[in-house]
């Protein structure tokens, strides 16, 4: 892709928010997170039974969530147990909470 000559510099916050947002920008990943968070399941196999998608696709989405830090995996041969990464989950909570804080949007009204 042709990129802008003077590449835009983003803050760590901006990159971080965008990265987490991208992780939850697909409905199946939101569903997976909800399932993990509600403890309705934990092993990959249970997810593949509940969600009508190929195993490889589920695995791919799990990898995306792992990379985002929102979940963690514990190898438990031959299974893998996935869980919410509590610390990062709380970080995401405060990050989005801060971003969407009412004060920001209501400081001034153009209309």
């Amino acid at each position: 892709m042709r990129r802008t000559l003077s590449a835009v510099e983003y803050s760590g916050d901006e990159e971080g928010m965008a990265s987490i947002a991208k992780a939850i920008s697909h409905p199946v990943r939101i569903r997976i997170l909800k399932l993990l968070a509600s403890q309705q399941c934990c092993f990959t196999g249970e997810l593949t039974e509940i969600i009508p998608m190929a195993q490889s696709t589920i695995s791919q989405h799990l990898k995306a969530l792992l990379d985002s830090g929102l979940i963690q995996g514990e190898i438990n041969p031959p299974k893998v147990r996935y869980c919410i990464h509590r610390e990062n989950w709380l970080k995401a909570h405060s990050m989005f909470g801060g971003f969407f804080h009412a004060d920001l949007a209501c400081r001034y009204d153009c209309h």
Copy 2:
């Protein structure tokens, strides 16, 4: 793209969350939202001065944010004034707040 035979059915919530998340999944869109929210600017032209990207690219990102509902535009010829869509902003706030609520992640721990 080859799609799964029995397409996954998502809830309105899941689709909605994913849609908003996708809107803020690019750092430049986060920056635009922060600029609009902090009222450092409002017209498209001001954004194109601050952000080193082609006018057409900024316009494209603004359209994405418009489509998400997070911002609104008021035509003010020959300019267009963009602002945070307060109502949808607050909706997003509660949506993400609810999703990342601590209880969900901490109900149970696999580790």
